[in-house]
Symmetry: D2
Subunit: 330 residues, 4 copies
């Protein structure tokens, strides 16, 4: 078997959640260090992505480092919280220049923390940047603000990478970076080498993309810096456990990464609202290891030949032999 | 002009909100009495629907009564909170009998409060009753629990009405009462006269229904006890301001109600996350008054004749003459 | 291994198709007898559902019988074509009484043919009965016409079954029987024992239902007379090959049927527009045999215990052990 | 009032249609010259877009010219039929080089006809170029074939424009140019000045875009060469009559065009399956004239000020005063 990939997770995987109905939360709050301990308890995780500021945490960065270390974890990324109360009408595209500056200040600060922690990248998730209603914004201006803000931020830190995690919507009804293609258009316009994409499998699926195609496109532009995986029912960003619905398309996604010799972390972005978060991560990783093993036995030459003919049925047979051999026995 | 309808709103329209990202809220918390005062400030509202328990409120029922009275408001309904932390895996369909009992206890208590306040109905919104994952529940059992729980509750209080507010999903990925037809099936099976439907226009639109058709069906079964209005982009329960997108279908919905001589309250269920809630309610009501006025001038005989031929274009001309006369002038 | 189910297919599976773009067809026309021969060539099919009239066929019923016989096939059903040119504005709900009569005449005639062929049921697919535009129809009247027409038809032929195949839309933008619950409401109102449901897995999936839940509900009402399977991307009735996307939910669907001891035919409703139709059927049946075998090894007691707790993760483990054992090996 | 725009239509608006159910068509076939006469009968149309080859037409190009002339029409574009039987597995991206050559030959020939007719552009609609199943194609290769084919075609005809009409799906389950951003990425990569976009309002709406935002983006890249309008329910390309559902967003779309001083034709792409096609066009144009008039009275300065604040409610009031003044009167 080929060497296993590195597994990671967003640290929020191990938190508890609120939504607009269960405003008292789906469980008691879980502090940052406990989240890290839970991530460590999974057993297969090597890296985590940390939100910043460390909400409700009054310890030091060294406390965080120590917690990571005792769990055998490294911070691969910082995700600045540019989507909380101050930014509900936008961060880099907020109509008020003072709030835009506040967002940039937070982003610079978070980038500093990312550097101190030795992270690979800062993740930008502009979930509040966009619009809700027809006629609410001038689209030209909103897009320009996004590009200007990103240019200012990313050009100031050439020694670290930044990734944009695109998503069609939520919490904003329309988000300014909704798709892989729109995000690549922006990135190419900005033209900086250290700005790329974090492709969230579920966002892509939900946004009417074919995730493997989206990954291929980002790779062809040299911009696929990171990925997250999860699952959903294609109508919303459900952040379900990997492999719970879309086995075939998850397999195709990782096949595409391997075919391109993409070497990044296989990272979880699940929201186990009502499930045990450690167990949810373990089952996802068990499935992902199975995907990895199935890739080892996939007949890639026969598959390439079928794809050269656009032969869907032949491709399906080849894939089922790798993924579901027991179903095909007679 | 015919007499204006009574306007109402869910009191949560005047609260602030949280979601899974802005966990610190879209604004400072607004207490119950302040919510009532905001409802009063709208100027056209006569009734409100109150959540129960009164979260974060340590006053008495008399305090609530006084606040309502000074704002010229009446409590038309109580909405028991059977979707907060204790019930995130379900209320009447929770797998644990102890939690089901806890839900029923809360529902009985809330019904008592509804009676004390002279409400017309108790609103049941089982947003956490359902499932998220394939294979998670036994569908027969889950449905039976829902019917049994409703029977026990509703039969115990023959002197007040209960309504089920159906919705396809959120917060649960699948909700046990997702559509008008499924809800009517359950209500007919239960067979109690005081159990009906609250039809939320946006839930119907989002759930691939035609809201006017859903209303007609509920009326034909004698079960349309209440309605809520709002708007969305058909892909989620956005709870946008009435009339912001679907003018024609909103007009058709109210035309259907009038044609059937339905006499209930025109009630708002909007979530103005980033807007001034009083202003959002005012604009909705301004639009609804316009709808009411346009219904007065709609040529219902010509429309009925067009519909008898299923003549979409003729119907459209008639509707546009009532709704958009200025657009048609030359 | 338990005994294999009977496999069947709609005969149109072996035709070629047109759509609004490829109006010259996705391939040369395939005559009825050739369609039957192709069905026979699959090797595992025992029954077929035949459209009526036999379009473009000038032979006799005996010719059809002979073709079926030489291929080891039986006609399980007749599907009257109440959705072609004469009926594009509706069949039983057409605004013109003369067309409604024409539809009924065709339905009676098709029922006669079904009896002559010894079919189990007549399949009613009212794909043109509904509406496209807001305000186009009076919903009460349209629904009543549907119930009246069905009553007249079904009560006239107590010795054969009729099934309604519901679908949210296409070709009509809204179809009058869009969901399992709405269809059951109508069937219960009509109250005849020989009227039931054909549940098409893809229609259910596309219509925001959980197919296993829809099946359970129809079974609980004693109305699940037949099923069709296929697959899609949840946004349209793509009629893809079974198992190409939704393995888990297909497995759950058949688990629900077995749990209820449902004994009907496993029937294909695929549209292999660009694929070899015999091969498409073979791959579907290979997958379905795998599903059948996996059901034999599914730990139903452990699954029932997990479902009694609504334990999604435990249920997932149990299902993966049956369906994907090779992925879980270490 | 400002001068009215030029109105146009795809000539297929005046044809009859087939689909996979009504394979005998929604009405008797309508020949090309009769289609042109119907377009002329609308009374407000100045230009039409013609499919090529002229299917079922055995006259000469002069016959077509004469028919256009007697109806006061000009051919603004040719739409080559690269989506009929020969191309159901793709045109420029077909797996077989011989079919790709056949597609290019047809495209060159159609371009010649477009030049002879004095058209403004050739419209490329690659509705069969894409994939249906997971693993069916190599996404890198498919995309590269699309770019290569377009480069070869477009660079050969520098004296005429070409437009790509993007669409998420149908007839292919996934189309290779699904969105404005993906299409712009391709166009920028190709880098030819005479290749742009035809933005179909309904495709944009259905593809989860905000059509006004998509238009703005294409304009900002200098690539919005043409538009089509129609309407739908956001779940499919229904090609309904303009203004039948999304009044506000249609208004926003044309406001964006005017704000950018975009001067092209307002063109209809409707499919009146069950309606009189001349009347369907007339009602669309009546509505569009109303939109044009409402734009004249829209308070663009106040709107710009509201948008600068992202003030959705203020913007809504301003828009309603222009579009629905009668609804707001007291």
């Amino acid at each position: 078997m080929t060497e296993l990939p590195t597994f990671g997770a967003g640290i929020w995987h191990f938190a508890t959640y609120k939504d607009r109905y269960a405003t008292d939360g789906y469980g008691p709050e879980v502090g940052l260090l406990e989240q890290i301990d839970r991530a460590g308890a999974v057993g297969d995780l090597s890296v985590v992505d940390l939100n910043y500021p460390f909400v409700g945490f009054d310890g030091t960065l060294d406390d965080v480092r120590a917690a990571l270390e005792r769990n055998g974890l490294r911070a691969i990324a910082i995700t600045p919280e540019i989507y909380t109360r101050d930014f509900v009408k936008g961060s880099l595209t907020h109509p008020d220049p003072a709030v835009r500056k506040q967002a940039l200040d937070l982003l610079h600060e978070a980038t500093g923390v990312a550097k101190e922690l030795g992270c690979d990248y800062v993740k930008l998730w502009p979930g509040q940047d966009g619009w809700d209603y027809p006629f609410q914004v001038d689209y030209h201006d909103a897009w320009q603000l996004a590009l200007d803000g990103l240019t200012e931020l990313v050009s100031a830190h050439p020694e670290i990478k930044f990734v944009i995690e695109y998503k069609p919507r939520e919490p904003r009804i329309k988000i300014i970076f909704p798709s892989v293609a729109r995000t690549l258009l922006g990135i190419e316009k900005i033209g900086l080498p250290n700005l790329g994409i974090l492709l969230d499998f579920g966002h892509s699926l939900y946004g009417q993309e074919t995730p493997a195609d989206a990954a291929q496109l980002a790779i062809d532009y040299g911009r696929l810096f990171a990925i997250d995986v999860n699952d959903n029912l294609r109508g919303w960003d459900d952040d379900m456990v990997v492999g719970s619905v879309h086995l075939i398309e998850t397999f195709e996604f990782f096949h595409t990464l391997r075919k391109n010799n993409w070497q990044g972390v296989w990272q979880l972005d699940q929201f186990p609202f009502r499930e045990d978060s450690v167990q949810a991560a373990r089952q996802a990783i068990t499935f992902l290891k199975g995907v990895h093993r199935a890739l080892d036995v996939l007949d890639v030459e026969a598959l390439a030949a079928a794809q050269a003919r656009h032969d869907a049925l032949a491709a399906q047979r080849i894939v089922q032999r790798a993924l579901l051999p027991n179903l095909l026995d007679d």
